[in-house]
Assembly symmetry: C2
Homo-oligomer: 147 residues x 2
DNA sequence: TTGAAAATATTGAATATTCAAGAATTGAAG
DNA sequence: CTTCAATTCTTGAATATTCAATATTTTCAA
C-alpha cells in the first residue's frame, strides 16, 4: 500500500520563507559592506531618500524606508546628533516635520552608495544579469499585486 | 549643456530594497492570519520544522527558522511554558538539547498550516500561478548562489 | 466660528533582540 | 591520561523596537 499523499509542504517551500531567507542573506551582505562606514542599512536608505535635496516628512520617510514611526523618530534622533540630517518644521502644515540631508550626510551617502554598488555588482556576477532583472521584475509585480 | 547622467539609482531599484519590501508585505499578511491563533510567524516555523517528529538541536533549529541562538532560546522558553514543545538532552552529545513537538503543538500546527495555506492560495489568485513558481525558483537560486 | 474628528510626530513603558561572557561537554594533540 | 581548544547552549546587560498614550495642528461639519 502506498503512503498517503504528503499534505504539508516543508517550510522551505513557502514563498514567505524563501523571501525571508533571501532577504536575510542579501541584507547580511549589504550590512557587512556598510559596516565599513559604521552605518546600518536603514540609515543608508534614509540618506538615499533625502539625497534628492527635498524635504521629506517623517511619515513619508517611514513608508519609504520600511520603518514604523517611533523607530524612525529614534533613528533620526541619532542621525541628527551625528549631523547627517536635520529637522525643519513644515511651514505649510505645522504638524509635519521636514527632514533634510546635511552636507556631511551627502558626503557619507556617496561613500555608502559605492559600497552598495559593489554589492549589486557582486550579485550580478554570481547570480547573473538575466536572473537579477527577472527577479526584480517579479518582486515589483508581487509588491504591486499586494496593494 | 545636458545634465550629467544620473549616477545613483533610486533606492526602490535596489534588489536589497525590493526583497525587504516584498518580505515585509508578505510577512505582514501571514502575521495577520496567524494572529487568529495568537502565534508569531517564527513559532509557526519552529512547530513546522519540529512536526517531522524528530528531535532537532537548537543550532539546527536556529538555522532553519532564521533566528539567532539567544533569540531562539528565549522563544523556546515561552513555547515550553505553553507546552507546545519540550527539551530533551541529547544522549549522544550532552552539549546538545533536542527539541520535540508536543501533542498540543501538533494540534496547533495543523490549524496554523491551514491558515498559511489560505494565504498561499490568496497569493496564487492575485499574483498568478506562473509568476509564483517562477519567483520561487529564482529565490531558491539566489539563495544557492549566495553560499 | 466653534468644536469634534483626523492627521502627524514624539514620548515612555513594556517587550524583544543582540552582544559578550559564561558553563558544560566533547575532541584531539601532546 | 591531561590539558587546551572548539562546540553548544544559556544568561544578563545593553540596545532596539513596539504599543499605547499624548501633544499639536489641521480639517470640516454644524
Amino acid at each position: 500500500m502506498a503512503k498517503p499523499p504528503k499534505q504539508n509542504s516543508p517550510i522551505t517551500e513557502h514563498l514567505a520563507y524563501l523571501l525571508a531567507q533571501a532577504n536575510r542573506e542579501i541584507n547580511r551582505q549589504l550590512e557587512l559592506r556598510l559596516s565599513k562606514e559604521g552605518v546600518p542599512v536603514e540609515q543608508w536608505r534614509i540618506l538615499k531618500v533625502l539625497s534628492d535635496g527635498e524635504g521629506h516628512s517623517m511619515g513619508e520617510l517611514a513608508d519609504a524606508v520600511l520603518l514604523n514611526h517611533p523607530t524612525l523618530t529614534k533613528m533620526i534622533d541619532r542621525m541628527v546628533s551625528d549631523t547627517l540630517v536635520y529637522r525643519v518644521q513644515d511651514p505649510n502644515d505645522r504638524r509635519k516635520v521636514l527632514m533634510f540631508i546635511s552636507d556631511r550626510g551627502k558626503v557619507l551617502c556617496k561613500k555608502l552608495n559605492s559600497l552598495a554598488v559593489d554589492q549589486e555588482e557582486h550579485i550580478l556576477e554570481s547570480y547573473g544579469d538575466k536572473s537579477t532583472s527577472e527577479l526584480k521584475r517579479l518582486l515589483e509585480s508581487l509588491i504591486d499585486s499586494s496593494n
